[in-house]
Subunit: 414 residues, 2 copies
């Protein structure tokens, strides 16, 4: 008997029919002899409907405390309905709001961080043979105020509960079969990964693969909870996200990702002096604009070019602010470009493998694709290129590194 | 400075516009220098929508625990939205779910009874100058399970909070101007009562006047909390429901009510022997059929007729069951009649006034109305008559007792 936490997103519980499907899925796991805690999101569309109500009120920027009271009703609806659906097919189940499961968070409404989970009530339910159906995304602070965890909160709730219960696995049930080497919609040869390391998943998630929320992966990595990303429809194995040493077949490159959601801003001929970068990125940060890549050219004549990328939705504000700041930085000119994409290769194997970058640039050069910016970390290499080359680049890199690429030599551990 | 509890029903908070209206109304009370706790229901239609979701799930008879988890989201939505609306017009406000306000109930999901209210949190909010916006209808049991109070629960919540806070008044804001001597839609001469005693209000409520829920009146009477039933739109005084000794102008008859929601069943020639009534009303009660009036004729030849009334929606079940039981009671025949109405006169004044019944029967006789059944209590007289005579009877009795009727002589106390 294993203790399994299953997480179903808003689409999976989007209407009564789907909730019945989820109930059947949970029932299978129970009947296979496991203890099950299920973490659910609000029914898809529900949160937006609640937010729209607040907007209809003309409440501008509603109180974060009351906003959380409002939106947390979404998950509360789902847990009650899922329990009813489980009862109907003869499965004992009990629902838990954030407060009821002792999900303690800090006081940061709308983006609260989990501090502790008092698992007594959950354990009692599980030990009594009940499925614990828990509301994702929500908790309470020390004074019992309702808080929400913000984007991706339900994944994080599930992982946190799995960790607190010392569950054997946290299953993330979603509408895809697992984590793929690249977008199967773009590259038919993409294949599902059986296993992937937390670190790789983190890079893949932050680079645009939308399967898992970054925060929940960090949580799982920190506490060593195995994640299993699998389809909520099919029954096959999905992708296990585990410790590096538990990834058997290690590829040099595990995945090729792309992200069309950024834009590029270049500040030309700024003074190459201390404080210049701070004078630019400080105000951008204060304006809530998250800068992703930053490249500074080699200085010439005491000036340099600074290029950086920002989320495309912040591009207009970003370039306006940069233009305002440019004279103070001694800059000659500010240029922007929304017509870009970021393409990356990710893989733990490249830590031990020199030459991945060189091979990447060569593959792109062979396709006649010009590289605008490059940034690297230990386990990923990202390049910015013209958006129209996205598919071409992804396909060529996937072919070179995944389809044709040999597995990295396994080290002594495996 | 007074401490005022205001209760707004589902229609008053039925959409964002109305919620803004409620906020303005609350703001006026705050700006008049009072401390205010506001108790709200779910937006009208919301509870039905939630119940429909459970029905779509095919959940037959859903678990009472989960049903409460589901429907309690309705009030939680309202409290958040009302707080936002209050903030928007510069009024400090803080919402409280049943759990957050320490509304402890027993474990009877769907019809829970309030056991205690821990007013610390509410007091802190009020003392900090905040409006406490509380979810009606809901509480928690000793284990933190969400419970709901059942029909009329929001009125009861408001009164209970008023009592616990020792509020100066519990205002029930509704879509009528107050409690009337009879239905103004039927009798244009009906007039609003300035004051009415709890006991009278109880009789009026149970006899069909829909302004206040019986349970909340009982609660208010028990704890001596003055109720003020008033319009949520206008600003005039409504009707105060208070202790008998605080009703200044005491009429012999305070109101004339009618109820078309019952049906009559007659069992003819049952044995006039011990146990016969129990043999009939026991099984009816077990079937969940609430019997209202019971009349037994004077016995003749060792047999008697038993006549009783039941809610019209239970009539079919009631007569079927009675027919099944009749042979065992030695009854000759069972007859039923749905075509009836109950008309009543209510007034504390009739305690000291003989002759009210005689006058009532005389008034009805003058109009040619035949009385089928009579039942009386200290402060009310009810008669059953053919439904088609309802208006005629109500108008005639209102004219005789209210329009033409003198106030009862005040006693030494007033």
């Amino acid at each position: 008997m294993a203790l399994i936490v299953q997480k179903f997103g808003g689409t999976s519980v989007g209407d009564p029919d789907r909730i019945r499907n989820v109930a059947r899925r949970v029932a299978e796991t129970v009947r296979a002899g496991h203890q099950v805690a299920v973490c659910v999101s609000a029914m898809s569309g529900e949160t937006n409907a609640l937010v729209a109500l607040a907007e209809d009120l003309g409440a501008g920027r509603p109180s974060p405390r009351e906003y959380d009271v409002l939106v947390s009703t979404g998950e509360q609806k789902t847990i009650a309905l899922l329990c009813m659906a489980l009862h109907q097919i003869g499965v004992e189940a009990r629902s838990f709001t954030g407060a009821q499961m002792g999900m303690r968070t800090d006081r940061a409404h709308g983006r609260a961080r989990i501090q502790s989970i008092d698992t007594d009530a959950l354990r009692r339910a599980l030990d009594a043979g009940e499925v614990a159906v828990i509301a994702g995304f929500q908790g309470v602070d020390d004074d019992g105020n309702i808080t929400t965890l913000g984007r991706g909160g339900s994944d994080t709730s599930a992982v946190a509960v799995a960790c607190a219960l010392q569950a054997d696995v946290c299953e993330i049930l979603t509408d895809v079969d697992g984590v793929f080497t690249t977008d199967p919609g773009m590259v038919p040869a993409a294949r599902k990964l059986d296993r992937i390391a937390y670190e790789e998943m983190l890079e893949m998630a932050s680079l645009g693969a939308k399967v898992l929320q970054i925060r929940s992966v960090k949580f799982a990595m920190h506490y060593g909870v195995p994640l299993h990303v699998r389809s909520s429809f099919g029954k096959g194995e999905g992708t296990w996200v585990v410790r590096e040493e538990d990834v058997m077949e290690r590829l040099v490159v595990s995945g090729v990702t792309y992200n069309r959601g950024e834009a590029k801003i270049r500040v030309r001929k700024v003074k190459d002096a201390p404080g210049v970068a701070a004078g630019l990125f400080g105000p951008l940060s204060e304006a809530g604009i998250v800068v992703d890549m930053i490249i500074q050219n080699v200085s010439q004549d005491g000036t340099t070019d600074l290029t950086f990328t920002v989320p495309r939705e912040d591009y207009a504000r970003g370039i306006e602010l940069t233009q305002k700041l440019a004279p103070g930085l001694g800059a000659e000119d500010v240029e922007g470009d929304e017509d870009i994409a970021k393409v990356s290769v990710v893989g733990l194997g490249m830590k031990d493998h020199a030459g991945v970058a060189a091979r990447m640039f060569q593959v792109l050069a062979e396709e006649g694709i010009n590289i605008q910016l490059i940034s690297t970390s230990e386990i990923k290499i990202s390049v910015i290129l013209q958006e129209k080359y996205t598919e071409l680049a992804v396909r060529a890199l996937h072919k070179a590194f995944v389809e044709d690429g040999a597995a990295a030599p396994t080290d002594e551990r495996t």
